[in-house]
């Protein structure tokens, strides 16, 4: 595995903020972020069923992580928070981390006003 592609929901402000944060992090392996609804994502990962509904991380050798697992895998790619990816997937914290991520993810469109960023960046979006 030499590369990870993170497919985020470009219609949600929290996700865009998280993407910007991720791009600033030093990582162990090259990281690519791709809007889940973009033509590029459709062309490359069209058959992947979770696109745009869940956070998806795909490695260049074809492994797909979805939802909380994708979140942990993205953390694993960062140099600063790799240790946290193991902690959050350990037996003690995993249930909490998973439900927390799902709670945030499910309501992700509602958090926009806390992030204070309502711009739609894409040309292919139709709200």
């Amino acid at each position: 595995m030499n590369r990870l592609t993170v497919l985020y929901d470009e219609r949600c402000a929290v996700c865009r903020r998280a993407r910007d944060w991720l791009l600033e992090q030093p990582t162990y392996l090259p990281l690519e972020v791709l809007a889940a609804g973009s033509p590029a994502a459709r062309a490359r990962y069209g058959p992947v069923p979770w696109l745009g509904q869940e956070l998806v991380v795909i490695s260049d050798d074809g492994r797909i992580w979805v939802g909380p697992a994708a979140f942990v895998t993205a953390l694993w790619a960062t140099m600063r928070y790799r240790s946290w990816s193991f902690r959050l997937s350990g037996p003690r914290l995993a249930p909490m981390a998973e439900s927390f991520f799902q709670m945030v993810s499910r309501r992700r469109h509602r958090w926009a006003r806390f992030v204070g960023d309502d711009q739609i960046e894409c040309t292919w979006c139709h709200n």
């Binding site: 992947v48 074809g62 694993w76």
Partner: protein, 145 residues
């Protein structure tokens, strides 16, 4: 009587004769240097294995880091050990031995703490190197080819 309590070290020496102070110094320096050398050799040998692993077989680099660490260990320990001893003239053999043992105990405890800090640093270095090669913590939900 009050005068006697206020006597300076110099007067005490003149009155009692400092028969043991110099032996305290000699014994202390011998033991302190010997102990530091023995500890440094242990650290050098065991640490070498550790560092070779951390630097993934880059032997020259591992050796260099090891030598630097051991040099620092020597400087710190010898400096502190010699600084620690400020023997006063000892009147009786018992006082001299008691003082010597007390000082050596303090030195040993300090060396032990420094040693554990050292091991902790080694462990941290190794942990950081190990993390680099770890696979993702969770299994993928699907695999495409």
């Amino acid at each position: 009587m009050k005068q006697a309590l206020k006597r300076t070290d110099q007067e005490v020496v003149e009155l009692t004769g400092d028969r043991y102070g110099v032996w305290v110094y000699l014994a202390y320096v011998t033991v302190a240097v010997g102990m530091t050398a023995a500890l440094a050799r242990t650290l050098f040998r065991a640490g070498g294995v550790f560092l070779t692993d951390v630097f993934q077989g880059q032997q020259p680099l591992a050796d260099a880091v090891n030598r630097l660490l051991v040099t620092g260990f020597y400087m710190l320990n010898l400096g502190y050990g010699l600084y620690l001893l400020r023997a006063e003239p000892q009147g009786t053999a018992f006082e001299a031995v008691a003082y010597l043992v007390g000082r050596l105990a303090l030195l040993l405890v300090t060396l032990g703490i420094i040693h554990f800090v050292n091991v902790f640093v080694f462990w941290k270095i190794r942990q950081g190197a190990e993390r680099k090669t770890l696979p993702p913590p969770v299994a993928p939900q699907a695999i495409i080819t």
